[in-house]
């Protein structure tokens, strides 16, 4: 399977290990990812809270480039980029006038013909769980994982085509296939506040705290995410949360593809486990006898 790949800005920086793991998993499963040439930022929340047209035009340029290169499917690993791309495609599909307007603004034809998929859906829905299972050589047996979806992979459901906006299961099923034990918990689709934690730290940190607390209370050994910003908030900010709330959280957080790469027999050196803030070493030691560490 061949996809245009839109990594987005985070996967080039704070989410770099997500990018590495995505490519390892793609290689193993025989998925070809071709990066969209000269892609730009999708504008994220900043664009869509500022100007409607700008919020559609920035993603449209990337999607138009992908179309011009003949791609029928675009894979988007970041939840925020995914939501912006999907909203753009839906808006353009719904209005021929807007299609003309957007094409004028970006100086390229954008027909909104290609299918846009989150990388989670590429792996969890398009690839086939049986095919994935064949590649598991190191099942993550006994690892209790809270699959965290956050907002933008699931909502709004008419845009994301999520399997269930309140209780999505696509990541849970993937975790099961690689031998881990996805847990039932309450904060699967609660918001982590995304970038709000920068301008309003008191508010953002409470949201992150509540997610960590809920995962811990259900006995999660680790949290799995499918978004670089969710990851950054839950991982990098645990120390800050502990300082603010007097808690003692040390919950390893993984991109779901990192856990898959582990189960496919890659070692932690193959991807970016050392880049995480919360160490997963003792967890991996216990789980797979340190083979991953």
């Amino acid at each position: 399977m061949k996809y245009a790949y839109y990594p987005g800005c985070s996967l080039d920086a704070t989410g770099i290990e997500y990018d590495i793991a995505n490519k390892l998993v793609a290689r193993t499963l025989g998925i070809e990812l071709v990066e969209i040439p000269d892609w730009n930022c999708c504008g994220a929340t900043s664009a869509h809270t500022t100007n409607h047209l700008l919020a559609l035009a920035l993603p449209a340029r990337n999607l138009a480039i992908a179309e011009a290169h003949g791609f029928e499917q675009v894979a988007v690993p970041c939840a925020a980029c995914f939501a912006r791309c999907k909203k753009t495609a839906a808006a353009v599909q719904a209005s021929p006038d807007l299609q003309v307007q957007i094409s004028e603004v970006i100086g390229m034809t954008y027909a909104a013909k290609s299918e846009i998929l989150s990388y989670l859906d590429v792996i969890g829905k398009k690839t086939g769980l049986d095919h994935i299972k064949k590649h598991v050589v190191q099942p993550l047996t006994g690892l209790k994982i809270a699959a965290y979806y956050g907002c933008l992979l699931v909502r709004p459901v008419d845009i994301t085509q999520s399997d269930d906006p309140e209780n999505p299961m696509v990541m849970d099923r993937l975790l099961q296939v690689i031998g881990a034990e996805p847990i039932a918990w309450d904060y699967k689709t609660e918001c982590c506040g995304a970038s709000q934690v920068v301008p309003v730290p008191q508010l953002g940190k409470k949201l992150i705290h509540d997610i960590l607390k809920n995962a811990a209370s259900y006995g999660a050994d680790a949290i799995a995410t499918a978004c670089p910003l969710c990851m950054l908030n839950l991982d990098m900010r645990q120390k800050q949360i502990n300082a603010m709330f007097g808690t003692q959280f040390h919950i390893p957080v993984f991109h779901f593809t990192e856990l898959m790469a582990l189960s496919f027999g890659y070692s932690a050196q193959d991807f970016g486990l050392a880049k995480h803030f919360e160490s997963a070493e003792s967890l991996l030691e216990r789980m797979i006898g340190g083979k991953g560490a």
């Binding site: 920035l58 508010l203 990098m236």
Partner: protein, 189 residues
């Protein structure tokens, strides 16, 4: 939560409110004030006017009160409200439309949130991408929170998760043109 004089509403803002509701794709009269949006809102605890109250303000014609609420800035656009509304009111889209309108009218209820998004877009305009290091540095300097998140900086650089030099796309001209074409009619009124 302030006391609001309901009789101040009336009909004078109805046309304007109808225009904003139509941009957001929302039928304001559909809302029967059940409060499900506000019960599930993750930011609700910090809001001055809950999403339910924002809708009620607009139903009553109290546009300036809605535009001056900090809530429309705090909304993280997580779409929980819109997903759960039993009447299909897209509250998140309404919050977004109100925030865009407040910006146009230079009603900035949360300076730091505004600053963050302005800087974000300035960087995208310059580089075509969002350079996280430059964004954080600029935000810290301009908001006066000089040491915010500095506890994480050492690990970010050491691990290669952050780089000093921004990534820049080749065709930055295309991006500047997109900004120009989208924002040229956007001067504050």
């Amino acid at each position: 939560m302030d006391i609001i004089e309901l009789s101040a509403g009336g009909t004078q803002h109805q046309v304007e409110i109808a225009r904003l509701a139509s941009i957001a794709g929302v039928e304001l009269s559909s809302c029967y004030q059940c409060g499900k949006c506000s019960a599930g809102c993750p930011e609700g605890f910090a809001m001055d006017e809950s999403p339910r109250r924002i809708i009620r303000l607009l139903q009553l014609g109290l546009l300036s009160e809605a535009l001056q609420a900090r809530s429309i800035w705090l909304c993280a656009a997580c779409d929980t409200c819109s997903t759960r509304c039993p009447k299909g009111v897209d509250i998140a889209a309404l919050m977004e439309t109100l925030r865009q309108e407040a910006k146009r009218k230079a009603l900035i209820r949360d300076k730091n949130i505004h600053l963050f998004h302005e800087l974000f877009l300035t960087n995208v305009k310059w580089f075509g991408r969002s350079p996280e290091v430059i964004l954080s540095a600029m935000y810290n300097l301009m908001s006066g929170n000089l040491f915010q998140d500095m506890d994480a900086a050492a690990h970010l650089f050491k691990s290669g998760k952050a780089h000093f030099l921004p990534r820049r796309i080749k065709n930055t001209q295309a991006i500047r043109q997109i900004f120009q074409r989208c924002l040229e009619k956007e001067e504050p009124q």
